[in-house]
Structures are given as structure tokens and as C-alpha cells.
Assembly symmetry: C2
Homo-oligomer: 352 residues x 2
């Protein structure tokens, strides 16, 4: 099922299974290479990565695989820095910082050149596939990438967003259902209105696109894989399913939390980054819940909580960590990425 279709042909992979380009250290070169070596498309989540880390990661990946792989980067946003808002957010975070014995008061960071530099690296290193989240780059950027033979993949959470991706020249679009873990890729519609379940989103997107649709959101095993194809998708993207894999760089507490969480314990929060994302509810999300509307936008809030998340992992305090997870944590497994892909493909073809 799904072998030798448009997606596998374009991405130069055996199976139409994409590992989501999750940012924040989850997508180690080991994970990316393991997925690609198993016949899927490993993706480096370079969203927050500086140029040196990105270059080093690309080298590491290329040392571990000769297969196709991807890099995911974020379309940048430059919100106004409102001192009052920052003060308020820092004030809210203070008790948590105290509990973690963190000194200083973080200042918001905005890098105005990161995206362009990341693109340069992608072009220079001839990364086979480049995917985007939080928007769509200009037609010129897409044209430049395609000129180098790089396959470009967009992200959409509504039909309208998918259509914009197609019009700008994307080769395929990941349609992200509301079940998905981590950040919402929404960029046109309001976040609330763009919480469309995968079962609804995929066929409606497929009906409007000429380019292939990749289904994302809630897919963890051969059942989700087959369901996505039944809905008209030509590929799947899995995030949470790869977080708990052996090669993933997710913190042990993060993996453990997913493996033991029931399906109704995730929430959408913008308290970690300023942008809505799905993760497992914990003390941090509970305490921030009533202030969700007041927090600074992405990526300002992200820079304010950075040291908290890092230090919480170090001190083994998962109550303050961003425990990204989709709505199917009961289907998560502690296996290798290769085994995961093998199981999906085997069971899907066995069951026909």
C-alpha cells in the first residue's frame, strides 16, 4: 500500500512515511538517519537551530545515511516587543524560575537573519527535501530551492492554507489535523477555527489540491497509515510516534510521559513558545492557563521560557517541561525508528 506513488517518487524514498521535523533537539542526526535508512523520510527539525548546529547536524546525517532526508525550517515572525507584556510574562514565570533556582531575567530574542541563513545552508548543502512550518515562503524562495532540485513541502491546517501552499509552488502539502502534537502550523485562519480533525481535514484538502496531500495528526501505526490512504492522502507524517523511539533526542522524562499518558491528557497551550501547541498537561500549563491570552507572541515567549525548559529537564522536573504529544499517546511504543517503520509497512501490507 502506498508504494511507488507520487510522494515516494518525488521524495526518493521506499515508503511514504515522513518523520516530522520536530524542533528542540528531538530529531537527532541518529533519528533522521534511522528513519531514512529504514525507507522513510527522516527530517531534521531545524526550526530553532543556529547555523553552526545546522551545518554540523547535516554533516552528521550524511555520515549516517546516503538516503534522502529533509530539513524543516520555520517561517519567521517579528512581533513588536512590548515591554509591559514581557514584564508581565516574566512576572508570571518568576515562581517557576525560583523553584528551579534560576537567576536573571531573560530578555526576548528575535533573530532577523536566521531564516535566510538557514535557507543558504539548505541550498549549499543540497538537502534533498525542505519543509516549512508557520507559513509559506515567497515564490522566489521556492523557485530557488526547486532550481537546485530540492523538493519543497508545506504545512497547512485548513483547505485555504493548503491552496496557498499549492499556489506558491509547493510540491506537496502536509495537512495537519487537530490531533497532532507540538506546534499548530496554522498561518492564515484563526488558531481556534483551524482545529480540524484529521478525519475531516484530509478528504476536504485532497478534494481541492492537485499536488499530493500528506496526512498528519493522530497517526501512530499501520491503522492510521491505512486510514490516511483511505481518506485520499498519498503519504503520512508521524511526530509523536517517533518521539519515543530509541534514536530520538527527546528527554527521558518526555518519552516516559508520552508512554504513560491517556488520550485525554493533552492540551493546546501557547505558554511555552507564544504559539499554540499540543502537549501533555502539567503544572506549567495549568498555572499559565488563565494567562494564555496575555503572553507575548512567538518567538518572544519561547525565548523567555527557554532556560526554564532546559533546567527543568536537568533537575528532572517534568512539571515544567514542554511535553509535546499528539492525542494518541496510548499507541506510543518504546522501539527503534526502523522497527516502527517496518511494523507499519508490514502490518499495512498484510492487512491489505
Amino acid at each position: 500500500m502506498g508504494k511507488n506513488n507520487e510522494v515516494t517518487a518525488q521524495l526518493k524514498i521506499d515508503y511514504p512515511i515522513i518523520q516530522a521535523g520536530m524542533a528542540g533537539g528531538i530529531t537527532t542526526p541518529e533519528l533522521v538517519a534511522a528513519v531514512s535508512n529504514a525507507g522513510g523520510l527522516g527530517t531534521l527539525g531545524a526550526g530553532y537551530m543556529n547555523i553552526e548546529d545546522l551545518k554540523r547536524s547535516l554533516q552528521d546525517i550524511k555520515q549516517q545515511t546516503t538516503c534522502s532526508f529533509g530539513v524543516n525550517i520555520f517561517i519567521p515572525e517579528y512581533p513588536d516587543i512590548v515591554e509591559e507584556e514581557i514584564e508581565k510574562a516574566n512576572h508570571l514565570l518568576e515562581p517557576i524560575r525560583k523553584d528551579l533556582h534560576l537567576d536573571g531575567k531573560p530578555q526576548p530574542e528575535l533573530s532577523r537573519s536566521l531564516f535566510d541563513h538557514q535557507l543558504e545552508v539548505v541550498l549549499k548543502h543540497q538537502v534533498p527535501v525542505c519543509s516549512f512550518t508557520f507559513g509559506v515562503p515567497s515564490k522566489e524562495v521556492i523557485r530557488d530551492l526547486k532550481k537546485e532540485g530540492i523538493i519543497v513541502v508545506g504545512t497547512a491546517t485548513t483547505v485555504e492554507e493548503a491552496l496557498i501552499n499549492e499556489e506558491r509552488g509547493m510540491d506537496m502539502v502536509v495537512a495537519q489535523g487537530s490531533e497532532a502534537g507540538g506546534h499548530r502550523g496554522t498561518f492564515l485562519n484563526t488558531y481556534d477555527s483551524a482545529m480540524i480533525g484529521t478525519m475531516s481535514l484530509i478528504p476536504q484538502v485532497v478534494d481541492h489540491l492537485r499536488i499530493p496531500t500528506i496526512a498528519a495528526g493522530g497517526i501512530m501505526d499501520s491503522r492510521g497509515f491505512k486510514a490516511a490512504f483511505a481518506l485520499g492522502a498519498q503519504g503520512v507524517q508521524l511526530g509523536t510516534a517517533f518521539v519515543t523511539c530509541a534514536e530520538s533526542g527527546a528527554k527521558p522524562q518526555h518519552k516516559e510521559a508520552i508512554l504513560k499518558t491517556p488520550e485525554h491528557d493533552t492540551i493546546i497551550t501557547r505558554a511555552f513558545s507564544g504559539k499554540p501547541a499540543r502537549g501533555i498537561a502539567n503544572q506549567f500549563t495549568n498555572e499559565m492557563r488563565s494567562h494564555e491570552e496575555d503572553l507575548p507572541g512567538y518567538p518572544l515567549q519561547n525565548s523567555l521560557t527557554k532556560d526554564i525548559r532546559k533546567e527543568a529537564a536537568k533537575q528532572n522536573k517534568p512539571q515544567y517541561m514542554s511535553l509535546w504529544s499528539g492525542q494518541s499517546p496510548r499507541l506510543s511504543q518504546s522501539i527503534s525508528a526502523g522497527e516502527l517503520i517496518e511494523k507499519i509497512v508490514e502490518q499495512a501490507s498484510l492487512e491489505g
Copy 2:
């Protein structure tokens, strides 16, 4: 696909397709009979029905079909009537009532015997299938129904709710994903936490149940039908897809709204009934939005908005009507219920 499984055998139908027992006049005897005559399971939405209407509807259905069919009833709730809350809600509704030239101030209604009387009718008329929403009846009630050979079907929005249904003795459970239109069936978990997308919900429920799972939420055509089976469901329940059918008793404005609405224009609101439900956003839901938390509980709010909804339909003011819809309105069709079922079954078997 899906023929001759446990669900079709128990429900005594040809195809494992259930028409949801939507309340409020949508499920006319004509619709119920048309679905059952086409090989699915028509269901009378008797949630709000008084005994005389219920009896007459059952007679009408039996005159139009000899096939199996179901009745859906609501597990009752008896919230305290807080005068202040009622006053506040009526005050909020006043401008709308004025615009509709409605006199008087509605008083909250609570019928403490309706559920028992509905059950008596179901038993006496030997309705083949009885389904429940908003909770699970006692073991005794379930035993009484089963003793008469009546198949009992529960509703769940989480794994835990599904397990309670099984423990109480249900023959099968409808697992309602967050895409679903109309009322959320949630009764144990909080409403927010129980918004699990169908792609995530079905396999996680299936993994925990011995009885069959019926998938609901976002399913509109053969693609959703096939996807549900891929996820492990043994049947599907469609609501919105039947609302726009010729035999449905939905108001013309309701049908029209679904047929022209994009996927991102539905919202969850408790402003119509006091219980969260998914419908198309309109002036009513927009104006009530910031007061959602303050409104009286179900069924109090339902009795306060009853004349508004009725009169709005009469005066052709859909901006005040409850336009229930799931998240796949772009897949809705203006056809007969028989055609809809035929198309689903034909296309699903053609595509294998």
C-alpha cells in the same frame, strides 16, 4: 467491506452504517425508514420527544419499513435552577427575542419522568435498537432492554467512557470524535479534555474494548467509511451527512448552511442547550461566546432558547438558529438517504 460483521449481525442490517439519532426534528420517520430500507440503521432522535410524539413517530416508522431501526434517548440531568443564572441568561437573550418580536420570558423546564416514560415506550413497542447519549443507564435498565431482545448502544468520547459503557452491558459503543456535529456525548471526562479527534480516538478505544466500536465524527463518504474500518471500527455513525438528505427534517436554512460552509466555520458552543455542541458559527454563537461559562446547564438553557430557535426558522433568520454541523461540511450532498448509503457502499467495495 464491513459486510456480515458483528455489528450488522447484531443490528440486523445489511451495511454497518448508522444514521445518528439527532434530536430536534431532523430524524423524521421518513429519514429513519429511508436509511433502514437502504440497508443501514435509521435512528429516531427522541432525546427531547414527549411520549405522544414518540409513539406517533414509532407508528410512522413501522408503516414505512419492516427493517431494523433504532431510537436514541438522552440520559437525563437535573441541575439546580438558580434564579440569578436564569435571569442573566434571559437578559442576554433579550435583544434576540426582541428582534424576533417574541413576548414573555421563558421559564426553565425539567421533566423528571420523561426518560422513564420513553424507556417504557421503547420496551412496549419492542424497538429493535436503543442508543443512549450523555451517559450510561443503570445496569438494571440495560438488562431490562436486553431481556426484550433490544440491542443497546452507548456513546463515548474517551477510552474511559467507552469502558464504562462496556462494563454496564452495552452491546456496542459509538466513539464520537471531536469532528462530530451536534452535542458532545461526554459524561465522565471534562468537555475540553474529551475533544479527541476520530483518527486518535478510534484505535485507542478499539484496543480497550471487547465489544464493537462504531466510529463517529467527520465521516461523510466512502473514504471516511473505509478509514474508520482501517482504524479498527466495525461500523460507522453519520450525522451531518444525513442532515442535508432529502428526507431529513432539518430546516431548509440549516441544510443550506451546511452545503455552503467551509470546514473551519464550525465552533463548539453551549449557548443553545447548556451542553457543548458543534455547529456553524453565526450571530447567536458569536454574541454568546464571551458568556459561555455563565449560562445555565443543560437542559435549562435549552428550554430558554427553544422559542428563539423555532421562531428564527419561521422568520428565516438563520443567524439565530442552531445550525449543527460536523467539521466536514464541504463533503455534504443534497441527495436522498438511500443514494448516500448506496454510494458509500458501492465506492467502498469498488476501491476494495
